[in-house]
Every structure is written in C-alpha cells, then in structure tokens.
Amino acid sequence: MAVEVKPRESSDVETEQLATGCEAIAEAIRLADVDVMAAYPIRPYDGVMQAAAKLIANGKMDVEYIVADGEHSQFEIVKHACAVGSRVFVGSSGVGWFYAFEAIAVTAGLRLPVVAICGNRALDDPGAFGTEHNDSLAVRDLGWLLPWAETAQEALDLALMAWRVGEDKRVSLPVAIGLDGAFLTHSQQIVKIPTQAAVDKFLPPFDLGDRLLHPDNPITIAPQVDQDWLMEIRMQNDQAMRKAETVIREAHADFKRLFGRGGESPFLDEYMTDDAEFVFFGQGTLALPMRVAIRRLRKEGHKVGLVRLRWFRPFATAEIVRSLSRFKAVGVIDRDYSFGSPYYGGVLYNEVRSALYSQPKRPVVVGFIAGLGGREIEQPMAQEIFEKTKAAASGDLKSGDTTHWIGVRA
C-alpha cells in the first residue's frame, strides 16, 4: 500500500499535544526518523503500534513498519535491520517480552543499538494487564540500558536520549525504556513536541562505521567463539556499559541546552530532599502518589522527600550513594519482586543496599513491595511506607532486614 508521505515538517515552533505515553513514543519515532520498526500486538505495547500506524497512514511518518509473526521475530527483525545500518524501534510487554528473550540477549551481545520500549506488565500466570517491573528487570544482567519514564513527556525525551546514547560509538548498546502499563502507556498528558530542527541538532545520523553489514564491507558477525574469545567479548561489553554513564551525562547536558528541560541529573529526580531526614526511593509512576503523600506529610512537619531513579542500567552508583548517604533512612519501593533474594527483598532494594555497603555513613534501607500487577499505591499505603521508614530513621527500627508487603489482604 502506497502512502503519500508529506515532506518532513520543519515547524520551528514547539507544539503541544494531549498524548498517552505510547503516543509520545510514536512522536519520538517520527522525530528520530526511524527507518525500521517491528510490531506484534500485546497490551500495553500495542498502544505504540496503533499510534505509529496512524502517523504513517496520515502521511506524517515514513518508516518501514513490519508486523512480525511473534515477538521473537519482531526483535530479530530489528536486530538485523540495525546491523545493516537502520535506526530501529521495537517493543513489547510482559510475557511477549519474554518470548523474545533469546533475541533480546543476542542484541546486547552484538552491541547493536536497538531502541525498545517495555510497556511494563505483570508476567503471566495469573493473567493480568497492570504494571509490574519484572519484565524489564529480567534483562538487567545482559547489557541493555534500562531507563524508566514517569510521564509521557519523559517517555518522549528518554526515547530521543535512547537513540543518542545507544548509537554513540563508545556505547553501542541497546536501550529498553520502561513505561508503566496503563498509568503511563494509556493515560493522556500534556506533552511538548520539540521541533524537528532541535531534534536534528540533538540526534546525529546513525553510523555503525566499519561494523556495517554491507557487501562493500565484508564482515562476519557473531561467529562461534567458544571459551577462547568469550571472556574478552564480555569485557568489551562491560567497558561499553561503564562508558554509558558519561555518555548519558553528555547527552543530558545537550538535551537541556536544546530543549530546556530534563532536571539537574539524568539519573536521579529528587523531590524535597534538601532538608529531608529520610526519603522514599523508587522508579516509574509510583513517584506521583508518593509526592502527594510527601506534601501532606510535610504539612504535618515531617522532613521527608523522594528520590526517583531514572536509569536502572547503568546504575549510577557513585551519584546514588552520594545522594542517599545524606539521609537517616531510605524506604525503597519495589514494583517488582525477587523471590528468595536476600531478605526476600525487591530488586531495587538489594541493589541500593549493595551500593551502600562500603559507605562509612549509610542510611537504614527498608524494603517495600507495593503496587504489583498494577495495584494502585493509595495514600493509606503511602502512609504505611512513611511510618516504617520514619521508624527506621528515628532508630525504632534497628535494621532494614525485613521486607514489607504493602496493601496485601491477609
């Protein structure tokens, strides 16, 4: 089907849209001039499919849009498209993400900067649509960069950052943006759509250099290597991930300069922490109910704040440690679980505790499991999290070696 594609809009004025997180991502696909995207329906990722398809149908976007026969093919398609030099986009959710797992693993191994979203969704069984972070987190050890967005605006901004950082030759790693199912993917918010000119300034064309798979550049990608080469290849990926932190900081500074937003740090979004005695710590959309709770608690005289993590991988250890060491207690809220892990805690909880271990002055870290399967974190739950964290800060709770499940019926 031929679609008339209008010349790329060269609006020099930033516009506004009421857009869902998925629609904001589709706008980012348009602005980044993506060459190939692959789709296979699963809620909430299908929101991006629909929004992108609409942009193509309306002649606003020119992208090779391939509907695959399953998630595994979907991720393989973009991996190969990326190897021949295309800027690509892909995504999935929950068990669909898991169905693509082999392709996800090899993409990072091959250092191909695929940009994906994972519309975070509870893993089956039991079947559920709501958000839970275990789908994204399952790839945490493989070499994918993993940012988490809170708002539709941040979804668009992080997507632009993702291509810029992932495609940087120093990094050359895939990026999977975590978007909370429903709360972010399917709720409409006011989103600023940047100008094409500004995006073009921010995002250079994709260039794989001498790794480009092309008849003029005969190379073999991914030969069998066995034990003789494998550790060296893992070491290369480790070094690339280490460099990612610097590259993210550079890109963030450019982003702020060009678009005038993004906050102080690319890694941490702090709220009312200047005089805080203790803080909540988490990622994604749970920040919103916690901010509301903080404003209420502040009126009652409690010095409490929020530190929201924006990039889980790379884990900006030094900055996170510097930030959290200022407080007496940290209540880590995990919208995930890690059955049988140390202290039966969530993934973030154990990462934070591990990062703080060698610090001479370190806060008590208390773990909370909350909001699984898309359950809302309501104010009474926020209150419970506050009380336990405050108890830790005031010394009433000697250690954080217990994980508290919040809002579970007995």
Binding site: L110, R111, D210, I233
Partner: protein
C-alpha cells in the same frame, strides 16, 4: 616407569565423527581396566571439539589416579596440558593436527611429556611413521600398534578390535596402571568373546617400540600458530573480517582432516568442471589452460571429486602419509611433464597413460585408492 607416581593422563587423538565411538571406548576401557586393580579415574572429551566435524582431529582423555584426591589434583586443569601417553588412532594424524576448536596446527606430540609414549595405529613401519612426524623437541617412545585406521560413522561402530589392540599395547608400556590381565578380564566380561581377548594379546605382542631422540622427525610441515586477540585488540560487536572473493581462510586451513588426497592426471583431464563444481570446500582453482588443480591447504580429502570425475583414474585418492607437502602440482606437471607423470604413477599405483591397463597390483600401492573406501562419502558415514 618414569610417569608420575600418583596419576597418569592419556589422550586419544582421533578423526572427528568417524572415530568418536572408538575413542570413547578406549578411554572408558582404560579407566575400567585400571579400576580392576583399585585405581580410580575419569574419561571425558575435549568439550570444544563437540560438535565435531567429519575427519577433523579431535581429542578424548582418560585420567587414572591412585585415589580420589590425586584424581582431583590431576583434574584441576580440566583439559590436560601435559599427557603421559598420546594415542593416535590413525597414522596420518602424525602429520600434525588442526582442530576447528583451537588455533593453528599442533605437532602430534605437543602435549606429550618428556619420555612419554606416542601410540599410533598403523600398517606402516616405525621409521615410515616417524618420517612424517614433526621434529621431536624432547625424547619419547613411538609405539606402533599393528592395524589400519578404523573408520565408522556417527551412529555406528566398526567392531574391528582396534580398541582391544590399543589396550593391549598400552598394557605393554604402562603396566603399573593398565595390566594386560586386567584388560583381558575386562574384555572377557564385556564381550564373552575369546577372539577379542586374543586381540588385546596381539596388540601387546605386536606393538613395536622405537625410542625417539630430540631432533628426530621431519621439519617439512607448515608452522601454523596464532596469537589470540585481547579485549582491547579485537573488533567490538563480535565482528571478524570476512574472506574476500578468491581469498582463503589463513587462520583455518583444514588439511589435517585429510586421510587421503586426490591426485590428478592432467593428461586425461577433459576440463569438464565436475570436480570444481562439486567440491564442498571449493578447493579447485582453474589453471590458465582450463585444468583444475587442487589447493591442498584447503582440501579435507573427502573424495567427492574422484567420485564425480567421469574419466577413469583421472583423480585418484591416495594415502596422505605418502606426501610431504601441500605444493601446487599443476606447476610441477607444466614444468616437467614426464617427471610429474612418473610421480603420479608412483604415488597412485595407476598408469598415467590411459591406454595402459592398470595392473591389479595398484591395490597394494594405495589400499584406499577407491573413493568408496573413504568413510566421508561411503554409505554409513556421517548420517
């Protein structure tokens, strides 16, 4: 005995797929025979050799020790870097081995310790085998176990008693570890066949020992060694240079997979292209005159060219142990036509003149000259 007191390590070097079961049986039997006198042990394969390839050199191992602690001590390096005994179950392996799972060509004695034993199954004399073995860097004893190479397929085993003969010969050289009576008792238990037991005795009696001093052997084989790249020197993204058209892989040549090589009678060649077309490894180059010459560095000796050649005795498969180099033979033919044809006749046992009927004696000269005797292409080979 000069072996270490507490353990012994034996490797079996074999032709991938064709001799896999044979190597397995030898290694298992070494451990089980040693067990009869109270030793303990383990048998295993070089993991990187599997999945192995037809004819490509591969290794299996047997480690025997006086107790579990000594066994662990000798297993700390899983793949032995040094062995007390090396067994090559095909004499063409003495020309050196290049596995797809390691880099370069190794002399057959590479992991063999000083004064260790190199057992080779062969119908040739010790002198003939030694003449094709790389120059020794340390003394060892060459032991010829009587018999030809035993080839079978992946799922079948050619029960020609090669394993029993090898075990008998092993009992002769390392009796502290493997005793002939234990080998015989084991075979008797396993087969209830007195003939099999007699084969072990035959291997024991028939094994010919030849002490090899440093400096003995041949220096005509190619040195093929490579440095492995480090993480700072290898290309990122698991990328390697592809071969350009007309270029062959300098890192992996494959010729040590060969037990037979095709020898060409250029006089009778009709330039029909069949060998060039059907060679699975694209080993043939077109000469300026339209002949097809074999690039011996790339040829694995599969015999398909000889099978598809429509001219009788134009391509003849000949025992690899008869050759010392991989040189271009078409040049030889161009420069010295009569000399080449004489060489062709001498190697192949076939007359270079098609008018002359080949005498039946050729069979003695090249026992494997019939390509159908080649396991690579014969029915029942790799399924």
């Amino acid at each position: 005995m000069t072996q270490t007191e507490s353990s012994i390590t034996v490797e079996v070097v074999y032709r991938g797929i064709f001799q896999k079961t044979l190597a397995q049986r030898i290694c298992r039997s070494i451990v089980l025979a040693a067990r009869k006198r109270g030793h303990t042990g383990t048998a295993f394969a070089r993991y990187g050799d599997s999945p192995e390839r037809n004819g490509v050199p591969a290794k299996q191992f047997a480690v025997v020790a006086i107790n579990d602690l000594e066994l662990e001590a000798s297993m700390a390096k899983y793949e032995p870097a040094v062995v007390d005994v090396s067994i090559a179950v095909d004499d063409t392996l003495v020309k050196g081995v290049e596995s797809w799972a390691w880099y370069g060509r190794q002399p057959i004695w590479k992991p063999l310790r000083k004064e260790g034993f190199l057992l080779v199954t062969s119908e040739n004399t010790p002198a003939e085998v030694l003449a094709q073995t790389d120059t020794a860097e340390r003394p060892y004893t060459l032991v010829i176990v009587p018999g030809g190479a035993s080839f079978a397929g992946l799922w079948v085993f050619k029960d020609d008693h090669t394993d029993y003969r090898v075990l008998g010969a092993l009992a002769k050289v390392v009796p502290d570890w493997v005793r002939l009576e234990d080998v015989k008792a084991l075979i008797k238990e396993q087969t209830k066949d007195e003939g099999a037991v007699q084969s072990a005795q035959y291997g024991f009696d028939g094994a010919k020992l030849r002490a090899v001093k440093s400096g003995e052997g041949t220096s005509s084989h190619e040195v093929l060694q490579f440095e492995k790249p480090g993480w700072t020197t290898m290309r990122p993204g698991i990328v390697v240079d592809a071969r350009k058209p007309g270029e062959r892989n300098p890192q992996y040549k494959k010729y040590t997979a060969r037990t037979l090589r095709p020898v060409v009678n250029f006089d009778t060649c009709i330039k029909c292209t069949m060998c060039w077309l059907d060679c699975p490894d694209e080993c043939f180059e077109v000469t300026p005159e339209g002949h097809y010459e074999v690039v011996y560095e790339a040829c694995i000796g599969c015999g398909i060219c000889a099978q598809v050649c429509p001219v009788k005795d134009c391509i003849v498969m000949v025992d690899e142990l008869k050759f010392e180099d991989n040189d271009d033979k078409w040049q030889f033919w161009k420069k010295d036509h009569d000399g080449y044809n004489k060489w062709f006749e001498q190697k192949s046992g076939v007359s270079a003149n098609p008018q002359v009927r080949t005498p039946p004696a050729r069979q003695a000269g090249s026992s494997n000259a019939n390509p159908s005797a080649n396991p690579t292409t014969a029915a029942g080979g790799d399924e």
